[in-house]
């Protein structure tokens, strides 16, 4: 192994990322000990529960939503913009897809396409509203996107409970979509073509980030927005573009949720699992880098699904996995890392990689 490779590995090992994940797991273990559970058994239950034969389908279904939102939030985050309105954009996408699916006169396969597009358009339109609030009115995006999210969720909830409610049902849900208006599923599982769509989005993001001028502009804005502005990147336009892509993806996740089991819009089913926050956590963990975002999203999907298995075997509440996620980000945000000498391998050099997570 040459010196450069060694320095790189040393840098990666003592990067804040490694430290944060390990610290999260250690603190999680302390919590487990505190509740009288065996950490090894509990973590084993998380892994086998999420990745074993019974859980993998569920993990991939969860990963579809988590990855979709992680990408949605990572794309503006790459330019330093935080979109906290994922919930609203996703829910509007979901309810729009449901309405399209229920009332479209087109044949079923075309209706599916129309519902996906309508969902994306709704999410994108709503996200653009938040971008306009920042551009035209000076309300920070972080705040405008989050505050706009609440009325959207309330509106969708109202629609599912009153005008669009399934007649005769006691549940707050719309009617089931007509036969054939659904994303094809793999075998008997709940995993649908939606996973492929989200994976394609990830690939497109990776390509844009690495190989295109726009991707370079986005990264440059994220690293130093004033320099990027000086170099001719038009910030308002970029904000608008990034938010429409971001909201479009969040809307797509909502539409996928409606076009998969149980093939209808159920009030709360999109927001209750907290995909937005898990997605944002994944994007932050990976510093919005495309491959890292995919890995982090899958990691958190495993945690979320595995948490249920852990709850069954060890009776430790599944909320522990949410605590774990947040602790990882706290450590990462505080940029803690292992002291250099632990992994220095005798070379006195400091690697720049460890600085740029």
């Amino acid at each position: 192994m040459d010196t450069r490779a060694r320095t790189r590995i040393a840098g990666a090992l003592r990067s804040p990322l490694t430290f944060s994940v390990l610290a999260g797991l250690v603190i999680g273990a302390l919590f487990l000990l505190g509740t009288g559970a065996d950490p090894v058994t509990a973590y084993e239950a998380v892994l086998t529960g999420a990745l074993g034969g019974d859980g993998i389908g569920s993990t991939l279904t969860t990963a579809t939503s988590v990855l979709g939102l992680a990408l949605a939030l990572a794309i503006p985050l790459r330019a330093g913009l935080i979109n906290l309105g994922g919930d609203g954009q996703m829910v509007l996408g979901g309810i729009t897809a449901a309405v399209t699916g229920l009332y479209s006169p087109l044949p079923a396969p075309l209706t599916v396409v129309a519902a996906l597009l309508a969902g994306m358009a709704a999410g994108a339109g709503y996200a653009v509203l938040a971008a306009l609030c920042e551009n035209r009115l000076g309300v920070p995006l972080l705040v405008s996107s989050l505050l706009l999210s609440y009325p959207a969720v309330s509106l969708a909830s109202y629609l599912a409970r009153y005008p669009l409610k399934e007649p005769g049902s006691s549940l707050p849900q719309t009617r089931a979509l007509p036969d054939g208006v659904a994303l094809p599923a793999f075998g008997d599982s709940t995993v649908t073509l939606g996973l492929v769509l989200v994976a394609l989005a990830a690939a497109a993001y990776w390509f844009t980030d690495r190989r295109t001028a726009v991707g370079y502009e986005i990264r440059m804005t994220g690293l130093n927005s004033r320099f990027a502005a000086y170099a001719g990147v038009e910030r308002r336009g970029l904000t608008l573009k990034l938010m429409s892509v971001s909201g479009g993806l969040a809307g797509l996740v909502g539409a996928i949720g409606v076009l998969s089991f149980p093939y209808r819009f159920v009030d709360g089913s999109l927001t209750a699992p907290g995909y937005t926050w898990t997605g944002l956590t994944a994007a932050l963990l990976a510093a919005a880098a495309p491959p890292g975002t995919v890995i982090a999203a899958f990691f958190f999907a495993v945690l979320q699904v595995g948490g249920l298995a852990m709850e069954r075997t060890t009776e430790v509440p599944r909320e522990l996995t949410q605590v774990l996620q947040a602790i990882v980000i706290v450590f990462l945000a505080a940029r803690l890392r292992f002291p250099g000498r632990w992994f220095a391998f005798g070379s006195g050099r400091r690697s720049p990689e460890s600085e740029a997570v």
Binding site: V139, L147, A334
Partner: protein, 289 residues
């Protein structure tokens, strides 16, 4: 009549938690720390106050414990953003997320229930003249904060730290010390806000019961230009929106419309005011400068 004294009373009751949290946020803002962890600190206060009040039977110990717990929790922001120079926005988001997970986790491990802890023997705060003592405290806190910021040397130095940290440091005023101070103070205030929410407005704990009030407080800081009186007006606006929402619900409007009312009103107010005073808006870059 729609606008009557009852509406004003319920608006004043609804605004107390927002006001306390927003005051903390405003002080942080003045010292150059963008604190968006208010929601999480408040939620920690909610849980601690309920747990302590239930175990000790004293709501006052609950209030005290909430203030201490939220202050301890705010140390995450203080150490992370001031000492380690981490990103305050990311830290704040993580703190809000952590608080939701942690309080839900504790609710299940300590009380063995999921969702809501509601017990008839849980002691809430007494009402004095229709308001909890914490409501009076919040009004007094506005006056004290306004006087401190405008008249006292502490407030002057605090503002100096926020506006020109390097200059303040040159004059021997330690920005780090002032920032630790205001972050801890915002923790105390958010803890009181949480106690008011869980033992004053109602007497129970529900998962994620702050439901965006901490974010409304962040907006109140912006709306009120981080000035105590401005923050009071902004919080009053929110209180009125919430109270009017309940009133409209009584008149037959669906609950979803009233749920959304405070956010819509706050957003509307934010549009109207920020559009007019963009040049004078305090800078909130997110990171501690």
């Amino acid at each position: 009549m729609f606008l009557d004294s009852d509406l004003l009373m319920s608006a004043l009751r609804a605004l107390t938690p927002i006001l306390l949290a927003a005051l903390g946020g405003a002080l942080c803002e003045r010292a150059g720390v963008f604190n968006i962890g208010l929601e999480g600190m408040m939620l920690m206060g909610c849980f601690t106050s309920v747990a302590t009040s239930w175990f000790t039977g004293s709501p006052w110990l609950g209030v005290l414990a909430a203030a201490l717990a939220a202050a301890a929790y705010s140390l995450i922001l203080a150490v992370g953003a001031v000492t380690l120079r981490g990103d305050a926005v990311v830290l704040g988001i993580a703190m809000n997320l952590l608080a939701v997970g942690l309080t839900s986790f504790l609710l299940r491990t300590v009380f063995g229930v999921q969702g809501t802890f509601d017990d008839p023997s849980l002691a809430g705060l007494p009402l004095v003249g229709g308001f909890t003592p914490l409501a009076y405290l919040s009004w007094a806190a506005v006056a004290v904060a306004a006087l401190l910021l405008s008249r006292h040397v502490w407030g002057l130095r605090l503002r100096g730290v926020g506006e020109a940290p390097d200059a303040a440091a040159t004059l021997g005023v330690s920005p780090a010390k002032y920032r630790y101070g205001v972050i801890l103070l915002s923790g105390v205030l958010c803890g009181l806000a949480g106690a008011q929410l869980a033992l004053g407005n109602v007497t129970l704990f529900t998962e994620n019961m702050t439901a965006g009030r901490g974010w409304i407080a962040v907006v109140a800081v912006m709306l009120g230009r981080a000035a105590p009186l401005g923050v009071l007006l902004a919080a009053l606006l929110f209180g009125l929106a919430e109270a009017a929402g309940f009133r409209l619900q009584g008149l037959g409007l669906p609950q979803q419309a009233t749920d959304a009312a405070p956010y819509v009103v706050t957003l509307g107010a934010l549009f109207l005011t920020t559009a007019r005073r963009r040049r004078t808006r305090p800078r909130t870059t997110g990171a501690v400068r």
